[in-house]
Amino acid sequence: MTAADPLLRIEDVSRAFGGVYAVRDVSLSVAEGETRAVIGPNGAGKSTLFNMISGHLTADHGTVHYTPATDGGVGLPQRIDRFSAHRRARLGIAIVFQGARLFHRMTALENVMVGAHARTRHGFLSAALRLPGHHREEAAITADALAALERVGLKDWAHRSADVLPLGQQRALQVARALCARPRLLLLDEPASGLRAGEREALAQLIESLRQEGLTMMLIEHDVAFVTRLADRITVLDLGREIAEGTPREIRDNEAVLAAYLGQESAA
């Protein structure tokens, strides 16, 4: 990757559901190490956009380029918009969903360990035969998963069933699962919604520390103060279209944004 290649480059992507555009002709670039917030009123197309990056939805048209890491460092930008979600995950794109999408009948630790699947190599046969290589890998994954749990403040929950976790902890568990994959690009879809004040602050501190480590993140959030504090740049969507992009200060003073987003929020 040269200095000019962004980690993620989206060009003119659109996606319609039943003839109605959820996202229309959106373009944006995210540089490596950047924290990008995506804001907008309900139905602006934020989650649809994220799902087109993670691969859970495919774009009707438009392109998505992503620059994966290679063994020797950083590779060339690849066009990934036709890749399946699991393939994109293996390239280092992780997503934390808005809803609690956890694996049932597993402990918190096991949920996080499954997250490491995106970067594991050993296959079915070595697992079935319990070869030494598989054993070593499993031990390393367990250690990583425990570290990820500790990071999101869930160390004490490690051996309890994920099904009994309160909502805030379920979200945190999803974050730990995503971190265990050691992503290069982390997508967070409204990670703070439904959290209590203390949990929001803990989440903000976690995002801040990840940012300082250089992790590239994209963040959907309603709380403008939360976003202003954490994001380098903000993209504003309204009715599927991008209406503004800039630093938090620029966005705060943007009249189109005030009209479309903030105006509606204060009216609500």
Binding site: S54, S84, R87, M113, V114, H117, E137, I141
Partner: protein, 286 residues
């Protein structure tokens, strides 16, 4: 008393066959949420293949292992047709497996004809408490115990077993962590085919198998598996054993033709009971 022991052990052996067949159903359903109605066919194919290979001169052991591998390949094939295309839902896939099960009749009749086949298993018998017990019974029971232990350890202890389970629990999130859900489903179908095959080669020496034996096998295997909600192995084992023993007792003390009624009655009772918790179960699964 010797009659009772006779019926008990032979029932346990046949029940182990049902349980193994049920474990294949559980394995496939656990990963793909598909109820595989071609499961009985795997056992039939393996039983008939083993018989043919043995009469072609292959030694015991080799023939059975080869037959299990053939069943595994059949499982993979069924999986490719049933879930290989992206976007096939579990309900559609269920109908596809049912169709393949019937289609397989044609192939089986072409290769093996319509008559039932059998082959000699582990020869000899032992006398315990006046009961005449074939050694094959104990082979079946031992193999089932081994199979269930290995499968249980794989699903609960191994990391890959967890990844397989994640596919059924939340396919959406599974894809997000890099799991190729379709490929895992095919792995499950292959494994399910092999488990059905193991059941087939073990049970065929006890009761001869023909192309339509799959109906009896799937009825019993399903009745066993439904006890654990098609996701848990322990209840499937218990259910299989209970069915085998109950049917053996019914056949021994009353009338052999009543034995499949036992399976159907148990299956209905469990399904009615589970239906009351149905909504809760579905919510849990999504």
């Amino acid at each position: 008393m010797s009659d009772f022991l006779q019926y008990l052990i032979s029932g346990l052996a046949v029940g182990c066959g049902f349980a193994l067949l049920g474990s294949g159903l559980v394995t496939i359903h656990r990963v793909t949420r598909v109820v595989n109605f071609a499961q009985g066919m795997f056992a039939v194919v393996a039983g008939l293949t083993a018989g043919s290979l043995l009469s072609a001169g292959l030694p015991h052991g080799v023939a059975e292992v080869a037959a299990v591998l053939v069943a595994g390949a059949t499982g993979l094939l069924v999986g490719i047709v049933a879930i290989g295309r992206r976007g096939t839902g579990p309900q559609s896939a269920l109908i596809v497996t049912l169709g393949i099960g019937f289609l397989a009749y044609a192939g089986e009749i072409l290769i093996w004809g319509e008559d039932p086949h059998s082959f000699a298993g582990l020869g000899g018998a032992v006398e315990i408490g006046g009961a005449h017990l074939q050694k094959q019974y104990f082979l079946v029971i031992g193999a089932a115990a081994l199979g269930f232990t290995a499968l249980g350890l794989f699903f609960t202890r191994s990391y890959l077993g967890k990844a397989l389970g994640a596919c059924a629990s939340n396919p959406y999130a599974a894809r997000a962590v890099g799991i190729d859900v379709t490929r895992m489903g095919l792995v499950a179908f292959t494994l399910g085919g092999m488990l059905g095959g193991v059941a087939g080669v073990l049970v065929t020496p006890l009761q001869s198998v023909s192309y339509h034996s799959d109906v009896l096998l799937i009825t019993n295997g399903f009745a066993a598996a439904i006890l654990g909600g098609l996701v848990r192995l322990g209840p499937a084992l218990v259910g299989g054993l209970a069915l085998g023993v109950a049917e053996s007792m019914v056949a021994g003390y009353y009338e052999a033709s009543y034995q499949s009624v036992v399976a159907l009655a148990l299956m209905l009772a469990v399904m009615v009971w589970r239906a009351r918790r149905h909504t809760a179960l579905y919510e849990e699964a999504t």
